[in-house]
């Protein structure tokens, strides 16, 4: 993207259009638990967040048309996914001290108490 060429009105219009899109998606975030995918709120919320993130990255962070940084980003995400999800995920799944750990042990998972009140 050549930053020296500025089409002020056109670029401003893009900013406002993205703002409207993000506001609409934020509204969807609030009504989703009562409107659709009620049994998969987590998945629905993350899906909406991904769409919002895509809009921000492409238009507010000006990554649209920037092939070098875009490719670098995808490459970095692949590295992160490889290490965090595959390598650490495999390690966690085969954690040999799971029963003895304070976090994963059955004693920590079994304790129940009252939920904190809404404030």
């Amino acid at each position: 993207m050549d930053t020296n060429i500025v089409d002020y009105k056109k670029e401003r219009l893009v900013y406002y259009k993205v703002l409207v899109g993000l506001l609409l998606l934020t509204a969807v975030t609030f009504i989703q638990p009562h409107l659709f995918m009620e049994e998969s709120t987590f998945m629905a919320q993350m899906l909406i967040a991904l769409i919002k993130a895509w809009l921000i990255i492409m238009y507010y962070m000006h990554l649209k048309g920037d092939t070098l940084i875009g490719t670098m980003g995808i490459f970095s995400l692949i590295i992160v996914a490889t290490f965090f999800i595959i390598v650490i995920g495999f390690d966690v799944a085969n954690f040999q001290f799971g029963d003895e750990s304070y976090i994963t042990g059955p004693t920590s998972a079994g304790v129940e108490s009252a939920a904190p009140t809404h404030h």
Binding site: T3, N4, V6, Y8, E11, R12, Y15, Y16, L19, L22, L23, T26, T29, F30, Q32, P33, H34, E38, E39, S40, T41, F42, Q45, M46, I48, A49, K52, A53, I56, I57, Y60, M61, L68, I69, M72, G73, S76, V80, F84, I85, I88, V92, I103, T104, S108, A109, V111, E112, S113, A114, A115, P116, T117, H118, H119
Partner: protein
């Protein structure tokens, strides 16, 4: 201390002087370097999200119950505030590039005000949670308290991640004030705005992180304490 660029001079055997190429106007290099920095931010928050996902996998019901107890109204207002602040910061950069320096500065001030409003609301929220005995190493969060371990993990991660995010907001306010100083000094101009560009990118990454923090903490329990996960 002066930050003026002093070109390096190379001298050949005959004593002729040559100005060594400086990189002060390498716009793309500056942008690329800042993106590399932002990837380290993504790595840091990514690791915290992975830990959160793992704890969520271990204690799904407690996470939903804990999420349902957070104040979604205040969290939602903060979401909209950050969203609008991303627009004002983007417009400030656009105005700078278009030569409207005064308008650009006005938009930066608007972003700072919105950032302060975000911090103010976050402070109100944290205070209410503290008064309910929910805070790091306090009241219900103490190891000997009756709160279930899953909820302690949820709130522990909540205060850590929103705290680090809030710290990024404070840093953002600081560097925006610095940017205003550089603009007033004529160091950031319509024809030399890489600092402005990168600070706008920083503000966008702060917004981007919140885009995931908000639904993960505030919304997963919105479907009711027994479902929605």
């Amino acid at each position: 201390m002066s930050h003026e660029y002093v070109p390096e001079i190379a001298v050949d055997r005959e004593g002729n002087e040559y100005k060594v190429q400086g990189w002060q106007d390498d716009f793309y290099g500056g942008k690329l370097g800042f993106w590399l920095f932002m990837f380290t931010e993504v790595l840091m928050f990514g690791a915290m999200f992975m830990a959160l996902a793992y704890y969520n996998h271990l204690h799904p019901q407690e996470f939903i119950e804990a999420s349902a107890s957070l104040n979604r109204l205040l969290g939602g207002i903060n979401t909209v505030i950050l969203l609008v602040s991303a627009l004002t910061m983007g417009l400030s950069l656009l105005k700078m590039r278009a030569g409207d320096v005064k308008g650009s500065k006005l938009m930066i001030w608007a972003t700072i005000v919105l950032a302060l409003a975000f911090l103010g609301i976050k402070a109100v929220e944290w205070t209410a949670e503290y008064n309910h005995g929910i805070f790091l190493m306090h009241g219900e969060m103490l190891p000997e308290s009756g709160m279930s371990f899953g909820k302690k993990l949820f709130f522990g991660m909540y205060f850590t991640m929103t705290g680090i995010h809030g710290f990024h907001i404070i840093i953002g306010i600081g560097i925006m004030l610095w940017l205003l100083k550089r603009i007033n000094a004529g160091k950031v101009r319509p024809d030399h705005h890489i600092l402005h560009w990168n600070i706008a990118l920083y503000w966008d990454i702060v917004h981007l992180i919140w885009v995931f923090v908000f639904p993960y903490y505030y919304m997963i329990g919105a479907g009711g304490a027994t479902g929605g996960h």
